[in-house]
Amino acid sequence: MRLAALIPALALGLAACASTPPDAVRGTGDLGVVIERAAGRVQVVEHSHNVSLGTVAGLGDLSHAHVAFSRDARYAYVFGRDGGLTKVDLLTRRIDKRVIQAGNSIGGSVSQDGRLVVAQNYEPGGIKAFDADTLELLADVPAEYAPGKFSRVVGLADVSGQRFVYALFDANEIRVTDFSDPKKPVTTRYPAGKQPYDGLVTPDGRYFLAGLFGEDGISLLDLWKPEAGARKILTGYGRGEEKLPVFKMPHLRGWSLAAGQAWLPAIGRHEVLVADAGTWAETGRIPVKGQPVFVMARPDGRQIWVNFAFPDNEWVQVIDTVDKRVVHTFSPGKAVLHMEFTPRGESVWLSSRDSNRVSVVDTATFALRKELPADAPSGIFFTSRAQRIGF
């Protein structure tokens, strides 16, 4: 009887040993994940030696997946399109916790103190806060803008004081929710421009910028003076010209600031917009190869890397931030969906969905350092995000 009870326990123990990697004692500062979107799987990668360490499967629909990291950079929170929120242990490469928290989700973020994971959802429209250790639901904050009407939430960013800033695509609003008391969140609403499609906070967490789809311009909220409300910058950049069709929405994150300027995708134009990060006045526009999707500064701010929407998505361009012009154009593969810099920017990893590979490129020489096979890769996320505001 006793022996019979022991056997399953022994089997479990053996299974645990078999899947524990031999290099269990190691840091996580050079780890990351690559989303394999169609397979519902992530690769755990390491950027000191540009290698893949293994995979974690069973993560659901990973189209438009986003990843945030725990404060100790051991766990990746993977947000799936199908509302799945999975806490993946990067060291054991196993699922630690998994919940289905919504019907349709596009991402999330971690609070200043690392204790809360907040998801942003399209269906039901709103945000939800979870305990970062257990994924227990702590607060549900619907984005209700009229009785019974809920907006899709975009651009969620963590800022100081346990606050999260986000925009409402369907309600032309920016909202700030304070989770100082996680079970009693307090939300403040700020009217903004038409159809905000994504948002970012500046690296110091002071300014929230919401890109607008429904009009030319960006809505800007100063979180040090929120009572002044949101104002519009870069208004009328299209100058009344007919927009080109947008075959994929651009993405914004806090890496758009470099050399004292904000570098932003123009909607419906093949241009990167440049604004002074002190006055927010337009200081230039740079013609590029297509509709920009990601406009990302190398961590030192000397270069901006740009990828593009369908049908120009095999191209990547590099802008020099001093000369404000394109200095390099190349194609790492077909359907380049995402880029991620190593923490200090000597390399950038690029995912090419339709070439089934990730390319590691030297940012000084533009030489290809490595290609790693991956199944229809999309997002690439390194643990250095754990220590940054707004990621």
Partner: protein
Amino acid sequence: MDRPLLLHVAVLLGLTALAVNAAQSAEPPQPDSARQQALVHLVRQDCGSCHGMRLTGGLGPALTPERLAEWPDDALVATIIHGRPGTAMPGWERFLNESEAGWIVARLKQGFPPLD
């Protein structure tokens, strides 16, 4: 004329052309198998940017058989080809012709094929 009005006219003209086309040939030409594969890829991966790879919706609505059942095929074809003014849906006429859009609509209504 303003742009939305022009687009509506364009859509109506497109619909008329379709109706004439349909009257002439009951069986619309089918894309060959390589093209069908390319269209499945386009729908799941690139339409999927907004509608989700599983077509369950995102910034764009779900494109499931249940959701599309009430929409006439012609209106869906016109939406694919010309887009929907006032929304984020662009027209895809640079990449597809109407019979290919018709093939996509028919497949969407049946339950769209998976990626190869």
